[in-house]
């Protein structure tokens, strides 16, 4: 294995861990927020309306995450452009 290959392997590994970690955090937040919202009184099974609510909630939560992330990155770029520094 030459040093270029080692470098690539390290980069890949770091990115993988970072993505896994991010996905794990997102799943945790989805579970907490959507359980809170969709299952007010836990019964002996997940009712079909609770399931529907949960699917819709998780899709919207992910969409919200993406939108918040995009708005945040855009804002950082504006600040860097206007002031030469990130806030």
């Amino acid at each position: 294995m030459d040093s270029e290959a080692v470098k690539k392997a390290i980069i890949k590994q770091v990115q993988l861990e970072s993505n896994m970690n991010n996905a794990k955090q997102l799943i945790e937040k989805i579970n907490e927020n959507c359980f809170q919202r969709c299952v007010p009184k836990p019964g002996s099974t997940l009712s079909s309306s609770e399931s529907t609510c949960a699917t819709s909630c998780m899709e919207k939560y992910m969409a919200a995450w993406n939108l918040v992330n995009a708005s945040y990155v855009k804002r950082i770029q504006q600040e860097v452009h206007n002031n030469g520094f990130a806030t």
């Binding site: 907490e32 359980f35 299952v39 836990p42 997940l46 949960a54 998780m58």
Partner: protein, 72 residues
């Protein structure tokens, strides 16, 4: 090897305890109202807590399934 096994078990036990802390807090708010009387959980509070854990884990599984279906 025996020691490695022990460390593995302990790590899993620690994860389970951490998750238990977080579910207890969520289910406490849902199942034990501020008006709850006495020093013991009554039977409806107990079954609410057990259901709360199972439905929370159902929802976890559903999220994981949904996410992996999106990826394919």
């Amino acid at each position: 090897a025996e020691l490695r096994q022990f460390i593995g078990n302990e790590t899993q036990r620690a994860k389970i305890q951490t998750q238990t802390h977080s579910m207890t807090e969520i289910c406490w708010t849902k199942c034990i109202p501020a008006s709850s009387k006495g020093n013991k959980l009554d039977s409806s509070e107990q079954s609410c807590l057990a259901n709360c854990v199972d439905r929370f884990l159902d929802l976890n599984l559903a999220t994981l399934k949904h996410l992996s279906s999106l990826r394919n």
